[in-house]
Symmetry: C2
Subunit: 203 residues, 2 copies
């Protein structure tokens, strides 16, 4: 039985459902595994689905009482890019509560401790081939302790007005999916009105 997002599990979905027939692991990695799943298509034929299995992650949009957001600048060598991202990290294991992970990653990367974490989106990063979900939280009521990143994690924290970060999203200057989505959802959730799409570029 397929889960749905929202109220989408409707009778007329019967003719789009795929039935998993068999699955085997074809690659075992350090971070991800790859599985091959054979499914029965709605028209009776069989097809192969290549699946990247990932434990999942949590991410946090930390907005302080001054309306500033704290982001991290990282070299993502995988995409050969220096990115500006919301604090985030992988779950320790697939069953870890994403809330616990969010609290830990926020403090590790930024030194921030939040009074309130509110789930914004249980984001599916790329549902065509990967099981990863990133739970994105809004963090408010922030106080500061000391950051202590993992030993192989090198990053800078960047604090800026949330309005400026949102404008950077609208100018396509922030391309990381969870970050762009989290910033726009935080802006809306906080009831800040229309998105400031036309702020001048960052000096």
């Amino acid at each position: 039985m397929a889960h749905t997002t929202g109220n989408l599990n409707q009778p007329q979905d019967a003719d789009i459902l795929e039935t998993p027939l068999r699955e085997q692991r074809v690659f075992e990695g350090t971070l991800i595994d790859v599985h091959h799943m054979v499914v029965r298509l709605p028209d009776g034929r069989e097809a192969l689905r290549e699946i990247v299995r990932h434990k999942g992650a949590a991410a946090v949009v930390p907005v302080d009482d001054q309306g500033y957001v704290t982001l991290v600048r990282q070299h993502r060598v995988v995409v050969d890019t220096v990115t500006l991202e919301i604090p985030a990290g992988k779950l320790d294991h697939a069953a870890e509560d994403p809330y616990t992970c969010a609290v830990r990653e926020l403090e590790e990367e930024t030194g921030l401790v939040a009074q309130t974490l509110t789930l914004l989106c249980p984001m599916i990063t790329t549902p065509g081939f990967c099981t990863e979900r990133v739970r994105i939280y809004l963090a408010t009521g922030l106080t500061k302790s000391a950051a202590h990143p993992d030993a192989d994690e090198f990053l800078h924290t960047v604090r800026m007005p949330l309005a400026q970060a949102v404008a950077m999203v609208m100018r396509a200057e922030i391309a990381d999916g969870k970050t762009a989505l989290g910033l726009l959802m935080a802006w809306a959730k906080l009831g800040l009105g229309a998105v400031p799409a036309s702020l001048p570029p960052t000096p």
Copy 2:
């Protein structure tokens, strides 16, 4: 030399840059490959980066003159979920122009032809371990022909007010990353004001 998103390639980034030393393919799949890259960390030590290589994709938020968006409902067996997504598809090959891909996928999945496609976001889906980028476009000036999905693609199209789709994002009922981000960016780009976070649930 690392690329940056926006104006982030700053001198103080020197102490966060990782240097790729060697890379080998450890798995060759039908859709993705997995590589192991050894990098030199800023502190001189070496670390392994596991990389899922993917050709990339394009996605389209099609908003018609009545303010309605056309979405597709699909069974994503990889995440065992029926999702509501913006029309999207993989690039035919890594060098394909994402604009061409967006035009094709929009017409294949929905039968819609757009007068104007505007890039909203060159989204990086999950920069920690995957090279995939999804270029998300806003499509306007829409006319309708006949949809003709790929032979192994089963989906329903769903047309609804953009305001309703955006409210579903804010209620966490739409979890696909590119879809949630694309809808919120389209709303802002079209200058529609504050996001309607509190519409009543879809009947």
